[in-house]
């Protein structure tokens, strides 16, 4: 089994390298979009607390839709292919981003926030100089979680005609080629683990000065 898989990788290296690149592209674009959108929404609902319940409710609801059916829903709007995959993955990744940004900011000590504004910081200054830096460990934990999830989930995107390593898995299943399925899965797992390690390093750095 292992020999077969390794053999397949050697033999069809180009094919897999292509899929790997596509997979990375789809995942990274989604991750980037949801970091931007998630941070924005998270910051907004932590500044306007009244809206947080509704927004969190909506985001939580979207998260409960099975990924396969979300991909299906989107086909009438954005057709098949990479675009739909990116939209679906970004929407999914939104929950951990929004939640962690919100919780991270909400957990900054109110005493520190009061001191920061009591000394004459405007809302924006307090946000960028104090709240966000102190919320950073929680936010990076959210990014880490979300990145791993997105890379794994991107495997399903091949079902609606998007590229990526899911193509190998899908083809392996339909042609009863076990080695192909295993290799696709293995590479996705490898990507996820690597992403986890890299972001973990960044996370450690944000924790460095939080020992109070």
């Amino acid at each position: 089994m292992i020999e077969e898989t390794v053999g397949l990788l050697m033999e069809r290296w180009d094919f897999f390298a292509g899929l790997l690149t596509e997979h990375l592209q789809i995942s990274f674009i989604s991750i980037f979009i949801s970091i931007a959108a998630g941070l924005g929404i998270g910051i907004l609902i932590s500044e306007f607390k009244k809206s947080s319940k509704i927004v969190m409710g909506i985001v939580n609801f979207i998260y409960t839709i099975p990924s396969i059916s979300l991909l299906g829903f989107l086909i009438p709007f954005s057709g098949i292919g990479d675009t739909t995959a990116v939209i679906a993955l970004s929407v999914y990744a939104l929950l951990p981003m929004v939640r962690n940004t919100y919780i991270g900011i909400a957990n900054v000590s109110p005493l520190i926030v009061e001191a920061a504004s009591g000394m004459g910081g405007t809302k924006v200054q307090v946000l960028f100089k104090v709240k966000l830096p102190l919320a950073m460990p929680v936010i990076t934990a959210g990014i880490r979680n979300m990145a791993v999830m997105t890379i794994a989930l991107a495997g399903i995107a091949s079902f609606i005609g998007a590229g990526g390593l899911g193509v190998a898995i899908y083809r392996g299943i339909t042609t009863n080629n076990k080695a192909m399925t295993v290799l696709g899965s293995f590479l996705i797992a490898l990507l996820a683990v690597l992403a986890d390690l890299v972001i973990g390093k960044i996370e450690k750095y944000t924790y460095k000065h939080k020992a109070i």
Partner: protein, 246 residues
Amino acid sequence: MTDSKIIRYENISMVYSDSQVISDINFEVKKGEFVTVIGSSGCGKTTLLKMANGLIIPTSGNVIVNGKNTRQTDLTSLRRSIGYCVQGSVLFPHMTVAKNIAYVPNLLNKRDRKKIDAAVDKWMNIVGLEFSMKERYPYQLSGGQQQRVGIARSLAVSPEILLMDEPFGSVDEITRGMLQDEIIRIHEQTGITILFVTHDINEAMRLGTKVLVMDRGCVKQYDSPDAVRKNPADEFVEKLLFRSVK
């Protein structure tokens, strides 16, 4: 003369949902005075202090700071002209000592690095912090050092008024004595107006040029420490004084 009265509390009342925290307080602070506010916990002294920089707006009455009513003025610029120093380690944990002290100057004008560095050096010197500590983080400092950084931070733009809320509450007796000497010296050197909240009667009597005694949201007595000692206004003040070292 409105000029010499730098802070005025006019008919201040404060009501939270249905409990009255402060009822009809009137008093004035003259420029250059060191007013200590003393009273039991929950008597409204912190609330009173936070009214001076607009963190709390009274339910009724007006607080006039430097001729500006906190109800109408731009609070951000008012706060930048008032030093604010709070109990415990409310230093920003993610900033170094130098960055902490430079917080307010940085809010004002980021570009003038030289001026900011000079201000940091000046105030580290005055509060007795060694320059080698500049790059340290708050968690690497002792309680006393943290307080010094807090004081330096609140003074960094040389404000006219300094508000202090039990700033020495969490340090040991010896360090507290040193910090008290320090703040007296700073007051004498700079002629700054200080409003200082404490629950320690000894501290209040020692530091203040005037002492404001509060009980359950009312002012019991507002006078010089000597006058308070000689003629306590009522039983409450007397009881407070009884605990002080004569």
